[in-house]
């Protein structure tokens, strides 16, 4: 977790106004999202996140609202998970039940500068640790925020091992495999050509997790 400890050490004692929070979140988001896919935040968005409980209540100094490190982390997680396609209500629920370490585990590793081997090595170790943490947790269903945290880390890892560098699920309707009535899998034929035991295992694990997440996002409607 060295790379995140570094990031957090910068923000451990962080405190600021609403405008300063916006600036800090954008600053921390930049290395996590070099392509700018996640978009930034602004004061209006922060107020909205607060209103729906996606951000915890900030402190006060006299009449002035003072945001702290926790809200920086929460904002980062909101942006990352929104980018992954999560509904905001579910993100808010997750954040309420997750401690700082759990939130950090949800964030992608910052991209190290090319040529900085130490930073690259530390980023790798941080990723391995997240992967190990995910492997250690036996999660049969997304019944708790902690399970969700671990399962998402594992999903990202499985997808990346399958060659999906972004670690995010995309959909492409090409070849339809009907597993049962109402349950069909769409796969691009070139991918099928590359099947081997490892890919089968990875795909099965990822498929299981994707279904769980869909179930989780939908909630218990019975």
């Amino acid at each position: 977790m060295a790379i995140f400890q570094f990031m957090l050490s910068e923000t451990t004692s962080w405190e600021g106004s609403l405008d300063e929070l916006v600036a800090e979140v954008d600053r921390q988001l930049a290395p996590l999202d070099p392509e700018g896919r996640l978009g930034g935040v602004n004061a209006r968005l922060i107020r909205y996140y607060l209103s729906i409980g996606a951000l915890s209540k900030p402190g006060r100094a006299g009449r002035e609202i003072r945001f702290q490190r926790r809200q920086v982390l929460e904002c980062l997680v909101v942006r990352v998970l929104l980018g992954d396609g999560w509904p905001l209500a579910k993100i808010a629920e997750l954040i309420r039940h997750t401690d700082d370490a759990g939130l950090i585990a949800l964030l992608p590793a910052p991209r190290p500068e090319p040529g900085d081997l130490r930073q690259q090595a530390q980023a790798l170790v941080a990723r391995f640790q997240r992967q190990a943490a995910a492997t250690g947790g036996a999660s049969s269903a997304l019944t708790s925020a902690a399970d969700a945290t671990q399962a998402r880390v594992r999903l990202r890892s499985d997808l990346q091992a399958l060659g999906n560098a972004a670690g995010q699920v995309e959909r492409a309707e090409v070849l339809k495999l009907r597993l049962a009535t109402g349950c069909e899998v769409l796969i691009e034929p070139p991918w099928l050509q590359q099947l081997d035991e490892d890919r089968i295992e990875r795909a099965a694990g990822a498929f299981r997790q994707v279904l769980r997440e869909e179930f989780f996002k939908r909630g218990n409607q019975s």
């Binding site: 081997l117 090595a121 992967q131 190990a132």
Partner: protein, 448 residues
């Protein structure tokens, strides 16, 4: 054959074909020995070596109870004693929990390490990956390009907690090695997973060792320490460009770094890294050749020097004359090439025998060893290795046979050699460093 040494202290690249000619009118198969010869160790009191940045990661699971754990701690202690103020070390132990007993620190004072080692007690299960990754964190935090950055992992068991997938763990070792943090592994006894441990070390660009008993362990640590002290070039890569119509195959089991690129073992002073390529030269190319030697390939060497600088520029080309049958028949075979080919073939037979032993097919094991024995007729070292394997096979000791044949095969096809090896008998290897000795048993002490 054209060799271009840009600097006196650089490794020298040599190409030795099995026969220095091609046979006219036929498709030819040419075995080519590529030799990378290190410079001699500089004389004088202050012999250069890279600073070490190590993490010693010790298994303290229940199966290590007693002498194995005592011996592991003794080995770690011995390794720490050999470090000095230039070096850093960390000490990590694991069972189902992982504990960093000493965070990475300069070895200016050995007492914290000694005190920590004195308190290590056996525990429960084996979270091998957790221990490795914690050691990786310690090394990564202080990684320097001019240091030898290495995780030294010792275990006697199978990973049964945390991440246990050998392929995934090896993949992580390889990824980390790409940044310069390498992994060496030490398997102890008969119950560890040799494929996991060898896979980690190979992918991690370190060295795999194993010892039958705790008694033999210190010898393996000393061997690696001597090798680390003697290193003069790291991260060796061979780039081979074949001429049109020439197909290439690498016979050693070195990791590929891309099309025509292979990673070779780190190079020590007074040693030689080597690879055997098999070239298939098409009939059409030979037909089209004029009287000049036919260009077949170009080999280039890249490496990282002791200061951590990327180096390249050492290159060699191979061009062979095309001769009619009578003249071709008169060209002698290079004995160095045939010897290395025999080693690689023997390594392959040992792997096949291991598979058969794991299936309980001892008749097949015996047949394969008999074949390896015939191959070893003019090679005393190969003969000694096969004799040791025959003893294990005769005892139908599948656990030991499996480990010995696996490590022996790995060593035989990817070892450093002494440059004057062909002129010395294997039993006269005592006066050379342990990492260059041709040992008949990998799991035993190399000293007589």
């Amino acid at each position: 054959m054209n060799t271009k040494p840009p600097h006196e202290a650089d490794p020298v690249l040599r190409l030795n074909p099995r026969r220095s000619a091609l046979l006219a009118g036929h498709t030819n198969t040419v075995e080519l020995l590529v030799r990378i010869t290190a410079p001699p160790r500089p004389a004088g009191a202050s012999q250069p070596r890279p600073p070490f940045n190590l993490a010693l990661v010790l298994d303290r699971s229940g199966s290590m109870s007693g002498q194995p754990l005592t011996e592991a701690c003794r080995c770690a202690h011995a390794m720490i004693q050999r470090l000095d103020a230039r070096d850093r070390a960390a000490l990590v132990v694991f069972d189902d929990q992982v504990n960093v007993l000493v965070t990475s620190r300069p070895v200016t004072d050995q007492r914290p390490f000694q005190a920590a080692l004195g308190m290590v007690q056996e525990g429960g299960c084996t979270n091998l990956h957790g221990g490795w990754v914690e050691g990786a964190g310690e090394v990564a935090r202080h990684l320097r390009p001019d240091s030898l950055n290495r995780i030294v992992l010792l275990s006697d068991g199978n990973a049964n907690q945390g991440l246990c997938d050998p392929q995934e763990i090896a993949r992580q070792c390889a990824e980390l090695a790409g940044t310069g943090v390498t992994t060496s592994t030490y398997g102890l006894g008969n119950h560890f997973n040799e494929e996991l441990m060898v896979g980690m070390a190979k992918a991690g660009m370190g060295n795999p060792y194993y010892s039958d008993t705790a008694d033999d362990l210190l010898d393996k640590f000393e061997e690696e320490f001597a090798l680390m002290q003697a290193l003069c070039a790291r991260r060796l890569r061979l780039l081979v460009r074949a001429a049109p119509g020439v197909k290439l195959e690498l016979l050693n089991d070195y990791p590929s770094g891309g099309d025509g690129i292979w990673r070779l073992p780190d190079l020590a002073y007074d040693s030689e890294a080597w690879a055997v390529l098999r070239l298939n030269v098409s009939h059409q190319e030979i037909e089209g050749a004029d009287e000049r030697p036919l260009p077949l390939l170009e080999v280039e060497l890249a490496w990282t020097d002791l200061e951590g600088q990327a180096r390249s520029g050492v290159a060699a080309t191979l061009a062979l004359p095309v001769l009619p049958v009578a003249a071709f028949g008169a060209v002698a075979e290079d004995e160095r090439v045939t010897a290395r080919l025999a080693e690689i073939e023997s390594a392959g037979l040992q792997l096949q025998a291991r598979t058969a032993a794991r299936q309980g097919d001892w008749d097949r094991v015996d047949r394969l060893l008999a074949k390896a024995k015939r191959l070893a007729q003019d090679h005393p070292w190969l003969e000694a290795v096969v004799s040791e394997l025959e003893k294990l096979a005769a005892a139908r000791d599948d656990a030991r046979f499996s480990k010995e044949s696996y490590y022996s095969s790995q060593r035989m096809s990817s070892r450093l050699s002494a440059p004057d090896e062909s002129a010395r008998e294997p039993d006269r290897d005592d006066d050379i460093p342990a990492f260059l000795r041709r040992q008949s048993r990998q799991g035993k002490k190399s000293k007589p």
